[in-house]
């Protein structure tokens, strides 16, 4: 597959690292958009405050990781202003907007876990201490995002008619698309940038999710056409209608 953002003179490992960080940052950008879109569905002022804080947190993390991509020659203009729907590398899990409050809660639980699991493998990265510190800080802040979703799942389960478990099971299949094809070479692990291979991180994710949702035995996401550079099957990019909702609207006001 052709690079979404070709930048010459990068080693193969640096290209892989740039791609993976792009995927993580874009996941946070789209997740921030989700929080923004559902903000008014908060249940109380404390809930509005929490959703606002999580939105701000995700935007802040995305911005910090985009800034780190400068190491690979990626500019702020590219990350924030000039990319289109086809260039966004967020997980398939976030393509479909939330269908209900329980669906929203189940999805943010899975998305927060998926992103944190992947980022946790950079926490002890000796090759890039800045990235390791950034990962550590992001993970500490994300802990409260997980508490929020777990608290809501427990609350919703008190209602026997709640769809939260069904929503979680359905969304889990899409969430696993992020770890796609474990047969592909994992250069970031073998070169020491990540402390665990993708296959192990996928297992960690399933174990963490299994503490809250029932994970069916042998659940698998078909490899089909998984591409490591975008961490998803199929064509690159997110749906145009989702991009329209989350995109930066007034580029001309922000461009220097």
């Amino acid at each position: 597959m052709a690079d979404v953002n070709p930048i010459g003179d990068l080693s193969k490992t640096d290209q892989y690292l740039r791609d993976e960080l792009y995927c993580i940052a874009d996941a946070k950008l789209v997740l921030a958009g989700w929080y923004m879109l559902v903000l008014q569905n908060g249940r109380s002022i404390a809930d509005f405050t929490s959703i606002c804080a999580m939105m701000q947190g995700q935007y802040g993390h995305a911005r910090a990781i985009y800034q780190h991509l400068g190491r690979f020659g990626v500019t702020r203009e590219e990350t924030e202003w000039t990319r289109g729907a086809k260039d966004i590398r967020s997980p398939k899990l976030l393509d479909r907007p939330p269908q209900s409050w329980p669906d929203f809660i189940a999805t943010i639980f899975l998305a927060e876990h998926a992103i944190s699991t992947q980022l946790s493998a950079y926490k002890t990265n000796p090759a890039d201490r800045t990235l390791a510190r950034l990962a550590d800080k992001v993970l500490k802040e994300s802990r409260f995002h997980l508490s929020y979703s777990v608290g809501w799942i427990k609350t919703l389960r008190k209602d026997p008619a709640s769809t939260v478990d069904e929503d979680g099971r359905r969304r889990l299949v899409d969430a696993l698309d992020w770890w796609g094809d474990s047969d592909q070479p994992d250069i970031l692990f073998t070169s020491g940038y990540r402390s665990a291979p993708d296959s192990e991180l996928r297992d960690c994710f399933l174990k963490a999710v299994g503490a809250t949702f029932d994970v069916p035995d042998g659940i698998a996401s078909p490899a089909r056409s998984w591409q490591r550079s975008i961490r998803r099957n199929g064509s690159p990019g997110i749906p145009e209608n989702l991009f329209e909702k989350i995109r930066f609207k007034n580029r001309e006001l922000a461009m220097p």
Partner: protein, 84 residues
Amino acid sequence: MKKVIDRRLELGGDKPEFYEVFARRNSAEPLTHIGSIEAPNEELAEARAWFVYDHHSWREMCIVPLSAIVTITERGSKSKVKVV
């Protein structure tokens, strides 16, 4: 998404459940009562307390269910822990 609030489920039943929030900015400061938060369970209380009382980068924060507090001077009355 249509917002439908089930007060019994989402706000912790017919009577709201409160957690008292205590924090300190550094290890030299005493743990101080900084406010309270309404939540139906510990996890949501933890998240809401962290996000609502974020005016300092706290060194330590903890929550206590209001129902766990034993009143001494106000025994028998309906008095709650007061936010200063």
